[in-house]
Every structure is written in structure tokens, then in C-alpha cells.
Amino acid sequence: MSVTNRLLAPGDRLREWWSGLSRVQKWAFGILLFGALALLPLYTPPFLDTPGISFGGTLAQFAMVAIIAIGLNVVVGQAGLLDLGYVGFYAVGAYTVALLTSPNSPWNKVTDTGPFSAPWAWLSCVPLAMAITALAGLILGIPTLRLRGDYLAIVTLGFGEVIRLMADNLSDITNGPRGLSRVAFPRLGESDKLPEGVFSNGNSSGHANYGTWWFWLGLVLIVVILLLVGNLERSRVGRAWVAIREDEDAAEVMGVNTFRFKLWAFVMGAAIGGLSGALYAGQVQYVAPPSFNIINSMLFLCAVVLGGQGNKLGVIFGAFIIVYLPNRLLGVHFLGINMGDLKYLFFGLALVVMMIFRPEGLFPARAQLLAYGKAARDWLRTPPVEKDPAT
């Protein structure tokens, strides 16, 4: 057993344990974990708290990045397409909501009544944002997914940068670098103290601040997306993705329409990215180009790679590391260097080191048979019935 295997053994053991559970047990643990996570911002253990910044806000950010990581995992982990411009989809989602609801935008559609009235505007924009982002994924995917894998990385990188440049340059629509403010958000729990509801940034004190509420919303969405993506993974589509990831030529020969399934993964991932962008726009209520810097794409990728490509629960943990550590280290000084600043350095180092010693991530996705695979594996692993194999 090599040193890295021993060092990372908890990840493997956890993975083994989880795979060994029955479906009912998985659900039971899932619900327990969900409850524990949901209560986390209300009863924060002191060692987990982020002193420099609101813990609820950190968790809200975590929920968004987790959604992104699940979406990117479909593209990178499942289908094996390296998408470096994922932040572009995030931006498209956020800007869709902002352009439709911000008073700074010429395309502001907010009215007094109907689906675009203030209480409903955000909610009506979410499906729109997902649809438009999916469309963006389709438009980008159709020409580029026919390319060799490594070209795809660069073209998507270019896409991410072009989206940001457009947000910057089309200043008559996007208000340029000044950004769009007063974006719509859900109005829930309006009271005298909080005239705009619990999701507004006026709700900034205490444990149940607006960050916490957004975290709860994100958590629910994560569960929904996990169910959707999990079902896709176990379906014919998921099997096609894995086949393409492992060997595209072989998959093609076996009759998998590789281009169609790659496009499917790409569009799927884009739509999920758009959803996260819509969440972001609603939470921050302000959208400006610098938030969509291309370096964020790398950070998202880092979440997926650290957590374990192809393992949708692993990448959520990856997202937690990516968001939590920089916020935790904010303001912690070491040798006169603010450790919070060094996040990209550490994550870059982590990427390099992981790729050398453990390219499959902290919680590797086991290359297992899908669909009826679990039953088949159990059957194969039952010890042979013959009593005396030696003779």
C-alpha cells in the first residue's frame, strides 16, 4: 500500500461503506445528513464558524458552488469533456435574471402584477435563465463538440472570457463594469421588521440571516438536482456518457451516437450552471463582470477534481472545501501573508499534487456497473458454492 493510499484511506473507506449500503439505508443516511446540514447555520459549532465573514453567507456560497460542481461533474466527470468556460454559463444565468429584473437594464420586465411582479419575478426568471443557458450550451456545443477533446478546453475557455468581455463591453445593456443592481429575489416571510422578506439582504443579523435562507433554498435544489442527475446516470444516457469518457472510439463503434450524448451532457451541465447563476444573482442582488472572471472556472474545476470526478456526492464535498477553506482562512496571517489570499495558490498546488498521486480525487467514483450493476456485482462476489476447489 503506497503512502498516498494510506493517507487518503478515509476517503476510500467512506466510499466503500457508502457503496455497501442498501438503497433504504442510503436514503435514511441522506435524510439525516440533510437535516444536519440544514441545522448547521443555526447551531454552528465554534470550530466550524468563519470568524471573518457570515457563516450563513459562506454556506449559501457553498450551495451555489455545489450546484455548479454537480453540473460540471456531468460534463467533466461523467462525459469526460473538459469545460474550462463553465463560468460563462454561470454568468449567462445570472445576467438573464439581472437583465430581466434590474431597473438598470433596458430589458427590465418587472411589472406591478402578473408573473413579473416583484414577489414572483425571481421565480419566473429561474426557468428562463436555465432555458437560455441551455440554449447557450447548445449553440456553443454544436460546433465545438465535434472537436478533439483538448481543443474543447481552449474553445470553452475562450467562451468564458468572451461572455465576460461582452458583459463588460455591451454597456448600454449590461451597464458595463458598473453592473446591474437591485435584481429581483423571492419575497417570503415579509414582516414589519423585514419589509422585503427573509431572502433580502436587509435580513443580515443573527443565525437565520438571508445567507442561511439562500443556503436552505440551495440545499433543496441540490437534492432535486441530485435525484435528476442520479436517475440520468443510471439510465441509458449515463451509460453512454461513461462509455464515451472511457473510450470515445470504442463507444462510437458500439453504436453510441457520441456527438448527441456529448451535447446532451454539455447542455445539461450548462442548464445547471445557469440555475446556480440565477441563485447567485438573486442572493447578491447585484451582477457585475468581475464576478465572472475566468479564474472561477478553474476553481469550479478544482472542486470537481478534488471531490472525485464522476462522484456526484464527492464533488459536493469538493465544493465545500473550495468555498469553506478560503472563507475560514480569511484574515488568518502567517509570515505576514494573508492565508485567505492564497486560495488559488493552494488549490493550484492541490491540483498538481492530486493529479500525480491520486488523479481520481478524494472520493473516487468507482468504475462500477450501472443500472443493474449492483445486483450483478453482489451475485458475482458471492463465494463459489463448491466446497473443495483444490481438487
Binding site: 474550462l84 465545438t144 477533446g149 481543443y151 448600454d172 498538481v352 500525480i356
Partner: protein, 345 residues
């Protein structure tokens, strides 16, 4: 907020110009400037193309090798030769200036070259030993690129005072751009001459090294068929090392030329865009093909300038990306085709 455009959809058009007249008037000037940009792209593109040709790997971190070269050049001028960033140009006469620039370039090449070889040694070689997937290489490259950028961003200021950090270095200007002569209606400045001449020398040297020397033959052999080349007694590891070295050296040279053109561009994030463009240039010419990279670089520089004149300065970077996508769509093998092994043909 009042919008100048009348119709809400007219807003979309308001930020994109379509100014063909500007292109017609400035045509020669744009071409000359584009050539000097293109010369820089070409030198960086060679690094991408050689590594890709030999290893089938996009060395994503090459842009950071270039960035380190800029800091190397600055360090040489600042600390070793004692120029201080004063804002005014030192006009030392042609011979001395060329000497100083040459020394700074040498140092930049040293920094970039050793960084490239170091990167190969630390990050890529272990992966080759493990027979990693190409996705793994790419992710490593991205990680390495992060590490180098952030090293300059946050660690370097603590090692050498006044270097790195969030702001660009104070420019040290050795030569003030001055018009030397006219071609058609275009002015040609001394900086442009230095850039184009230097790039030309390096291009010819590299082409000679790849196509006429024993080492070059080794590189071409490994690019064509690495197993057979190994059987024929070519040391693959040494060839790979040399490839990275050549790419790094040229990136260092390009870095100095770039700082002549954009003295205020020495910043930790300064390599990123240039790197993507140089990569686009390599693809444009046919990645893996040496002469393709040189040609692609020049073409990209010129096209970008034309695009900038037509659509507006702020769209300059978008032009390069769109060009990349178009090339990949219609001729994914680039203008001159992809093979480094057959580059001589």
C-alpha cells in the same frame, strides 16, 4: 438611468461598431502594428506547437512561463543593470540600448527556459511515468498555471521587495517609440523594428534548429513516432526536455519584446490572454507544425488589428477567440496542417 439608444434592441447594436472606413484608412498602419504583435504571438506559439507536436499536450502553463519571462527581463534591467523606473526613457544610443536589451533578453530567456524545464520535471514527467490520461495532463497544466500566477501575485512580494503583487511593475523604458521611416502611409517606429527583426532572427534560428540539426531531427522523429524513435536510439526524455527548453527560451525572448511594446504590462496575470492568443495562433497555423505557428502568429496579429479597427478597440480579444472557433470549425488542422514530423515538407 437614461439610455442613449431609442429602441431596447437597438441597445445591442449601440456597443458594436462596424467601421470599414477606419480599416481602409488605417490599413497599412494596422498591418505594420499587427505584424509586430504577430511576431510576439508567433514566438510564444512555437512553445505550444513544439510541446504539442512531441507530447500531444496543450501546455496550458506556457502563458505563465511567458509571464515569468517578463519579470525576468524587468529584474535584469532593474537590479542587474541598475535602471530605475523613472517614467522617462533612457536614451543611451543605439549600440548601448541594443546591448542592454540583449542582456535583459538573455536573462528573461534564462528564467523562462529554466521555468519551462522545471515545470516539465516537476509536473509532467511524473504523469508520464504513470501513463496518465490526457485530461490529467491538462488539469495539471491548469494547476501549475495557477501556482505560478499566484506565486508572483502573493509570494514574490515577500521575497523581492517591490516585485509582484496585485499591481503591474513601474515601467522601465529604455527606448521611446520614435518614427524611423514610412512604408506606404504607415509609420514604422524603432520599437517595431526591434521586435520584428529580433523575432525574425529567432524564427530562423528555431527553424534551423528543428529542421537542420541532429537534435531537431530527434524532435521530429519523436513527434512522428515516439516508439520507433526510441528504438532508433533517440532518448525520448531528453528530447522532451529540449522541446520544453526551446519553447521556454522563445517565450522569454517574446516576453522582453512584449515589455518593449507594453511597458506597463508586467503583472502576474499578464500572460493569460497572450497565452490563449498564442495558442490560437498555433492552432490557426496548424498545431504541431513549427512554420504553421510562425505564420499563424503573424496572421493572428494582423487579423486582430483589423478586427479592432472594424468593431472597436474593446472587441480586440473577442476577435481572436472568434477567429479560433472559426478556424477549428472549418479547418481544424490549421492552415499548414498539423504534423511536426513532416514539417520540413
Amino acid at each position: 438611468m437614461i439610455h442613449e439608444c431609442v429602441d431596447q434592441y437597438a441597445c445591442l447594436a449601440a456597443n458594436i461598431n462596424f467601421n470599414l472606413e477606419g480599416l481602409r484608412i488605417g490599413f497599412w498602419q494596422l498591418t505594420i502594428d499587427g505584424l509586430s504583435w504577430g511576431a510576439i504571438y508567433a514566438l510564444v506559439a512555437v512553445g505550444y506547437t513544439l510541446v504539442f507536436g512531441v507530447l500531444r499536450l496543450i501546455n496550458f502553463a506556457h502563458s505563465e512561463i511567458f509571464m515569468l519571462g517578463m519579470f525576468g527581463a524587468y529584474f535584469a534591467l532593474d537590479v542587474i543593470m541598475g535602471f530605475t523606473p523613472s517614467g522617462n526613457a533612457y536614451n543611451k544610443g543605439i549600440a548601448l540600448t541594443v546591448l542592454y536589451l540583449g542582456l535583459a533578453m538573455l536573462f528573461a530567456m534564462l528564467v523562462s527556459g529554466s521555468a519551462a524545464v522545471g515545470l516539465e520535471f516537476v509536473a509532467y514527467r511524473p504523469l508520464r511515468r504513470r501513463n496518465a490520461r490526457s485530461l490529467t495532463f491538462l488539469i495539471t497544466a491548469i494547476g501549475a498555471s495557477f501556482v505560478m500566477q499566484e506565486f508572483v501575485h502573493f509570494i514574490l512580494p515577500h521575497i523581492i521587495k517591490g516585485y509582484g503583487g496585485s499591481n503591474a511593475q513601474q515601467p522601465i523604458i529604455l527606448v521611446q517609440p520614435k518614427t524611423q521611416f514610412h512604408i506606404f502611409s504607415a509609420t514604422v517606429s524603432n520599437v517595431t523594428i526591434v521586435i520584428i527583426v529580433a523575432a525574425l532572427i529567432f524564427a530562423i534560428l528555431t527553424d534551423f534548429a528543428i529542421n537542420r540539426t541532429k537534435f531537431g531531427r530527434g524532435i521530429r522523429a519523436v513527434a512522428q513516432d515516439s516508439t520507433t524513435a526510441t528504438l532508433m536510439g533517440v532518448s525520448r526524455e531528453r528530447i522532451i526536455m529540449t522541446t520544453f527548453l526551446i519553447g521556454g527560451l522563445l517565450a522569454g525572448a517574446a516576453a522582453l519584446l512584449y515589455t518593449l511594446k507594453v511597458p506597463q504590462g508586467i503583472i502576474y496575470s499578464g500572460g493569460f490572454l497572450l497565452g490563449i492568443k498564442a495558442f490560437s495562433a498555433a492552432v490557426l497555423g496548424g498545431i504541431g507544425n513549427l512554420r504553421g505557428a510562425l505564420l499563424g502568429g503573424l496572421l493572428l496579429g494582423i487579423m486582430e488589428n483589423y478586427g479592432q479597427a472594424v468593431f472597436g478597440t474593446q472587441w480586440r480579444d473577442v476577435v481572436a477567440f472568434v477567429l479560433l472557433v472559426l478556424v477549428l470549425l472549418f479547418r481544424p488542422t490549421g492552415i499548414l496542417g498539423e504534423s511536426l514530423g513532416k514539417a520540413r515538407a
